[in-house]
Amino acid sequence: MSMKIGVFICECGPNIAEHIDIDSVIKKIVATEEFKDIELVIKRHKLLCSNEGQEFLEKEIISNELTHLVIAACSPRDHESTFINVCKKTPLNPYLFKMVNIREQCAWIIPDKEEATNKAARYIRAAIRRVLYQSELLEREIESRPDVLIIGGGIAGLEAALSLASKERKVYLVEKKESLGGKASLYNLLLPRQSGGVDEIQKKIQDVENSENIQVFTETEVESVVGFFGNFEIVLKSLKADESRTELKAGGIVVATGFDLVNPQALSGYKYTKDDDVYTSLEIEKMIYSDGKVYLKSGEQPRSVTLVNCVGRDEKGYCSRICCGAMIKIAKAIRDLSPDIKINVLYRDLCLPHKEDQRFFDEVKESGVDFIRVKGIKLKERRIEYTGMDGSKSEITSDMVILAPAMVPAEGTEELAEILGIPLDETGFFQEAHYHLNPVSTTTEGIYIVGAANGPQGISESILQAQAACGKILTRLIPGEKIVPEVKVSEILESFCTGCRTCLEVCCYGAIYFDEEKGVSVVNDVICRGCGNCAASCPSGAIQAKHFTSRQLYTEMIEAIR
C-alpha cells in the first residue's frame, strides 16, 4: 500500500508562527531529496488543538487517506493525547503518528528566527523519517479473574476480606495459626479511643466465617505462586498432619502477614530470665485482658511497675510507631486497676503521631504516672540502670518491669517473599512499589502489602491499608471485565534470543520469564511497563521496545546530525 504522510504544522497563534518561518519550513521539507519519492500532505494551521483544529485534522486524515501522521506543535506532554484521540476517530492507527515539539523545544528557546526555522525543519524531517518505521500497535484484551487470595488472618487480612468479598468476587483467606484474629485480637483496649477492641475483632471474625464468599484456610500456608496479575495460580499447603494441598486461581494477592516482637533477651543490655517479673507489652496486654488484673509471678499485685520504651530500637534502626501509645495505655490500665501502684515510664522520645495521642498522654500523666526521659538503659533482672539527659546515672528497682520491644517482620516473611517473588527492604519488611504514590502495591502488579507486613504500624493504619488495597483491587480487577495491557511494551525476537537471561536480571517488574522449552526469554505484556531497560541490556538486539525501537531512534538521530 502506498505511503501518504500528513504533516501538519501548528502556528500556535504567534507562539510558533512568530518565531519560526513556517512557509520556509514547508519549502525545506518538500525540497528534501530523501522525500522526493514519498507522497506528503503538508499544511499549516492556526491552532490544531482547538476544536476547529481537531475537526480539520480528522477531515484531512480521512479525505487524504493518510497512512502516517506528523504533527509539529507544542509538547507531546500537552497535546499528544488530544491528537491520539483524533486518530482514534479515523482509520489511522495512533501509533503511526509522531508529534514534534517545535514550541517548548524550538520556538521558545531559539531567539534567532532563521536558526529556529532550520531547527524546526530538522525536527520535522526526523519525525517524517521516523513514522515510516513506526508500526501499528493494537490493544488486546486478556481474561482475568476477580478473586483474591489474602495471606494472613489478622486485622488487616480480615478487613480486606470483608471489603472485597462479594457474589462476583470470591476471597480465599489463608492463616498459619489455628484461629483468625492475629495479634490485634490480643489487645483489649484500642488506641486512640479507650474502648474495647476485642469484641469488634471477634465480630469481624464472625462476619468472615459467616460469609459464603470467603473461604478460610487456617493452619495453612502458601506453597507456590505462579502466573501474573489477573491470573495467579496458587498452591496452598495444610500445616496439619496430612499436609494436603489445595490449588487455587486468583487475580490478585494481598499480603497481610503482620509482625512479631523482637525478643529482648536476645539484646545486649537486657539480662533477665523467665522467672523474673519482666514482661513484654504483649504479655501484659494478655494478662490484663484475660485476668482483669496485673500480678507478679508470686500472684501478688506489684507495688511498683516500670515501663521501658524503645527496646531494640537502636538495634533495628527504626521507631516502631505504636509502642509509646501502647505503653501509655498499659500505664493507664494499671493505674485504673489500682491508684497506689507506683508507675514509671522510661522513654527516649515520645512518638505520638496521631491527632488523639497527645490528649491521652496528658490525661495519663495527670493520673500520676512518672515519665522519665532517658538517654539509655541497662536492665538486670528487675534492676534498671539508666542515664538521664544530663548524663547522670540513676537506678530504679521495681516489682515489675514491662518492656516495649520493637516490631519486626513476622516469621516466614523471607520465605514468602521468595515464593511471591517480591522484594524486602533493608529493614526486612516488604518493600512498597513507591513510597509515596504506590504504598500498598509491590513492583509485581497484582500483589499488595497491607498492615504491619509493610512496616511497623498500628491497628488503624493497618485497616486503612487493607482498605487501600481494596481500592486498588476494586478498580483494577472488575468482575466480568478484561485487562487491556499496555501496548508500548518490549518484545523478544525468539530467533535472536540466546537465553542468557540478562533481561530477567535487569527488569524491575519481573515482567520477563524464561521459556525452558524454547530456551528463550519472553516478555509478559500484562506486567511490562515499557521502560526499554531490557532492550538496552540485550547484546543480541533481540529485544525491541515497541514504539522506541532502535530503528526508530536511529532514524531520528540520523536527521538530528544531518
Partner: protein
C-alpha cells in the same frame, strides 16, 4: 557542513532525554523562555535505561559532535531502578572510549529533574559550549570511519 575547524562551527549534539524528568525539564525551560543552543537536538526515550551501547556508539560514529544522556536523579526513576542501569552502561561506554582516547568527553550523563528547567538550560548550554570548544567530531573528517 561545518567540518573545518572551530571557526563558525555549529556542533551537532544529540540529547537522549527520559520522558518523565528531563524531557519535562526541557519543556519547563521552554515555557520559561530560556535560551538554549540550537546545536542541541532532543530525542525522547521513556527511560534513560533505554539508551544502549549501540545507540550511543552509532550516534557517535555517525558523526554526532556530542551526546547527552539525561534522566531522573538516582532514586527518582519512574521505572523504579532504570537510571541505575543507565549509569552502569554509561560508565562502561566512558571507559571504553576513554581507553581508546576517542574524545570520551563528547559523551555526558546528567540527572535533571522535572522542576529543574533552569538547570536543564545550564547543563545543555555548558555542554554545547564545551563541544564547540572541542571542535568537530574527528570521525567527520575521516572517510575510513
Amino acid at each position: 557542513m561545518n567540518t573545518n575547524g572551530k571557526e563558525g562551527f555549529e556542533p551537532k549534539i544529540v540529547g537522549y532525554l527520559c520522558n518523565w524528568c528531563t524531557y519535562a525539564a526541557a519543556d519547563l525551560a521552554g515555557s520559561s523562555k530560556l535560551e538554549i543552543s540550537p546545536s542541541f537536538t532532543v530525542i525522547r526515550v521513556m527511560c534513560s535505561s533505554r539508551v544502549d551501547y549501540n545507540l550511543v556508539l552509532t550516534t557517535f560514529f555517525s558523526g554526532a559532535d556530542g551526546i547527552l544522556i539525561a534522566g531522573c536523579h538516582p532514586g527518582d526513576c519512574h521505572y523504579d531502578k532504570g537510571n541505575y542501569y543507565a549509569r552502569r552502561r554509561y560508565g562502561l561506554l566512558k571507559s571504553v572510549l576513554g581507553a581508546l582516547e576517542m574524545d570520551s568527553e563528547r559523551l555526558q550523563l546528567s540527572w535533571i529533574s522535572a522542576s529543574e528547567g533552569k538547570r536543564y538550560a545550564d547543563v545543555v548550554n555548558e555542554f554545547s559550549n564545551k563541544i564547540k570548544e572541542m571542535g568537530p567530531n574527528p570521525i567527520n573528517r575521516n572517510a575510513y570511519y
